[in-house]
Symmetry: D2
């Protein structure tokens, strides 16, 4: 798991993900990206709920940018990737993509902030994670 | 507000509510019904969050039945109704419908239980509400 | 794959599936059930879109009943099952469940009708499927 | 309706919009923005489905940027605004915001492209709309 070999999660497109235009509804790619970030975090030993209980922290989305290049369709099997672009004290920038086979459908850049689970105050990214992401 | 004049909330159908079949996705009618229950509760002076804070209680869905008669489409303006069918100590049964103009599209029956917000233990429906619903 | 060994799909609970009550939002179990039906259909050789293109038919939900027994939580890994209860000419009744390990969380009964993809007229369940479900 | 007085749609936050973090799930602000764009378009005489049928065109999202400043909570009544930033031949850039009372919660910039409803080919923004937006 490093910058050169991005993490990837497979996601199947169901009816719930599509809209009357016949394609995946644009905000659902944002959900797919969050699913992939969750599994990527799990690959480093932390579930969302575990991170809250054990470390008292969580990652929240501070900003995102999405480019829609080609539509995904019902029944598609998609790969959602996650790659660290940059890491600050409490901030983490990820590059994400949605692909069908080798075709790039959507690109995303997501800015996360590590915060305390109770007061949402920014705190340092836990060292155990920073070490693996730097 | 009584059994003979059901409460009604207007809901517009947006792209997010539809699927690739060109109609409203079947579970989204269940969301529409929850929106109407929330506004119906508000018409008696309680928001969901207010009920949690002031009374320490909330309503949770214990069971539901939905009949799909006719599909709703993109841009439809729907009326979602709420009517008390039956009320027990901690249990409340509601009849709900989704209509477009005078056409009945979907019928629902929803069984709610009043529970404590922290431990989810069944408690009596607050008297202030029971009085108005009986 | 028969009545005695129900089909099962694993579904992970993500933030998008939960609500401010801290548990899975009640209509999302209905989505999970639809995902499992889709994969169950695929196990018999038909995608939703393939069935539309090749046979000109689709299954639509005519009615559903859901019992909520215990809540599912963030990060849970759920099993969603599908089992044929009954099959008519154009009608199909399925029993579905949501389980975490061996704990039953939700039970559903879903009535589907096989219809033409263009006019939504009821038609016979395709023989190739009926044979395997009877 | 012009650049100096942005269009605004009121949206209530329901359970379905929130997540286990106790706030509105980040992709749902993107849905709220789409609802506001749809009502904004309607204020110029076009529904989404009407535009498809009458003009054979639709707007699709080509890119979006969202900044999350403060969270929205269950039961909040939000104002979602729409303002034209820039208009090209087939491209339209909108500025959008999510506000609670006078507090800015979320800012968005959405790039739309006007396309044919059947082949998704870029076409000129209909003159009847361009005139009012320029």
């Amino acid at each position: 798991m490093n910058r050169h070999h991005p993490f990837s999660l497979q996601v199947r497109v169901y009816y719930e993900d599509t809209d009357a235009g016949g394609v995946v509804y644009h905000s659902n790619y944002v959900n797919f990206m969050e699913r992939a970030r969750t599994e990527w975090l799990r690959s480093f030993g932390f579930s969302n709920s575990g991170m809250m209980k054990e470390l008292g922290t969580m990652f929240v989305v501070r900003a995102l940018k999405v480019d829609y290049l080609k539509p995904a369709m019902l029944d598609d099997l998609l790969s959602i990737t996650v790659q660290v672009k940059d890491i600050g004290r409490s901030r983490l920038t990820l590059l994400q993509s949605v692909q069908r086979d080798d075709v790039l459908l959507t690109e995303g850049e997501v800015h996360l902030v590590c915060v305390t689970a109770d007061t949402f105050k920014p705190v340092s990214v836990p060292d155990v994670l920073r070490k693996q992401w730097s």
